[in-house]
Symmetry: C2
Subunit: 340 residues, 2 copies
Amino acid sequence: MRTLDHWTQSDAAVTAEFHVGKFALLVDRKPLVKFNPDQQSMKLCILHYNDMKYKLADYGLSVDLPNSALLDADQTNTGDFIAVFGSSLRTVEMPDDSPISIDKVRGELAETLGGSFVDLRRAMLTLENDTDRNLLARMYSLTRWARTYRRCPKCGAALKMRASKSAAACITCDRIFYPTFVPVAICLVSNRANTHVLLIRHQRTVNTVYTAIAGFAQMGESLEESARREVAEEVGIECDKVWQISATQSWPIPEGSLMCAFRAIADSRQKIDVCTEELEGARWFSREDVKLAYENSLRDPQLQFAPRTKSVIQQLRYIPPQGAIAHRIIKEWLEEKPYV
Amino acid sequence: MRTLDHWTQSDAAVTAEFHVGKFALLVDRKPLVKFNPDQQSMKLCILHYNDMKYKLADYGLSVDLPNSALLDADQTNTGDFIAVFGSSLRTVEMPDDSPISIDKVRGELAETLGGSFVDLRRAMLTLENDTDRNLLARMYSLTRWARTYRRCPKCGAALKMRASKSAAACITCDRIFYPTFVPVAICLVSNRANTHVLLIRHQRTVNTVYTAIAGFAQMGESLEESARREVAEEVGIECDKVWQISATQSWPIPEGSLMCAFRAIADSRQKIDVCTEELEGARWFSREDVKLAYENSLRDPQLQFAPRTKSVIQQLRYIPPQGAIAHRIIKEWLEEKPYV
């Protein structure tokens, strides 16, 4: 831990470790992953610098310090540490009249590197383990932050970015800026008898996926107050009781969030008043309905069989896959008993 | 709630509400408060625009939209809403050879307004209720954020700040920036028998005040991982078990944090390895010692009787006052029994 801490703060150390480091890749915001044989889950591909350098060069791409962030320090069998970087690259856009599509080019590059490029959200939802999920969240958020923070927001002078991407200092006024991420309260509301939960469907979500209510925390409120406020704003329901459970998760979409899990109890006789700007629907579902959706999300985490037609959107067929904190909260609720 | 949400997003609404609103004040970063008769706790002073306008003008000060942030919407007896603003003002510095001190000027202004200006941290620690603490956290953080975010960090163009201070948009590239605050994991570590807790004293703290271990969360880790990492970094202790408890608190110092409470269990036979950059000391204390310090912090929340001499710094005499989340976690631990 202290090795990583030292590297994080030293540009010289990051530069020295770069050419002997290991790399996770984002190309056009898509992480390079390797599917497990069952095709249902995946791992991040982590490549040694020398194993990918020439392969990337063939496609006109290269990892370098400006497009990379320090993610971790891995201990080897001999006790030494090796730096893990994340690099965010962009392929050159094809002219409109090109016979070759960008997808095809990326597909070939992925094959050369021994993996596949997949959608960021899909990877976050179905990566096999939390270590990979954390690395991906960190890689996406830090490289994105480093691309955005180039000028001092106070005085407009240039920001000098640390090689690790852990901070940037203004060359004129000396202010230091750190990568930011916002706490999000995500809250599963159950009825007083604990037989039903209130699930919502977002605008533009894949049809038939329902999930828990979530929203950004605001400055000057406790997270419990955020959860209570979000439930009131999104579905017009006042909760009897709101409590935090010991589960949080780093999430890179849209920019960098920290999902913090809550449970709540509310009177289900209240009228649901859906905030239609954000939501397409909200309903109370029974334990049996939720259990079926939970099993579907385990069996088909890539949502390959999710219907896309408008006619079935009222149905609950899926909850989010196992990589989402919502999945975990709903699973824990399913293991509880009704209150008597 | 929806009234506040509407106002937050509408510059026209904020402008219309401003001259009929209520105001909390920061002058030179010091909040205006009113002490309770016991002198141990305080309330925020909230003043109507017309009641303070001329009094401020006598001191060359004025509240206006640029130095104010929208904090809340209060419902009156008639069911209408009144906007609550927070304004951050600066007095003019006195010349070095002036016979009048700035403290004296602020003191006279405070008296005219019917309150006192106190140190921000002191107010956060000893305000009587959480509503005031939240308002103060929001006022300080939002006005500070609005003073800092004046240029787009991506392209350097001017940022157009919302009148409510809830967001700022780049006039050139249309990016929107929101006030940020960082999650902090604060963790109370107890031994396996639950008879002792590990408390630390920060560098530059008031002597004899000990508290729980805390540190900023990093991107790409869960808060539980943050808590575990901070304990390892600050005191070199590996925890057996770490869990989050349902307690969070918005905190404006140094910039804007969300304190999230954790408990942990660790083997107390491990060697304590203090990170001397941040800490002056760390020790295991018995339930009896902690109870005495807890009682001192209740009896003397303003730390008026805390010794300032170096010779007694090894003693635990105080824990943080009731406004700090550390106080609440330690209090809850004191109510527990040893494990058998």
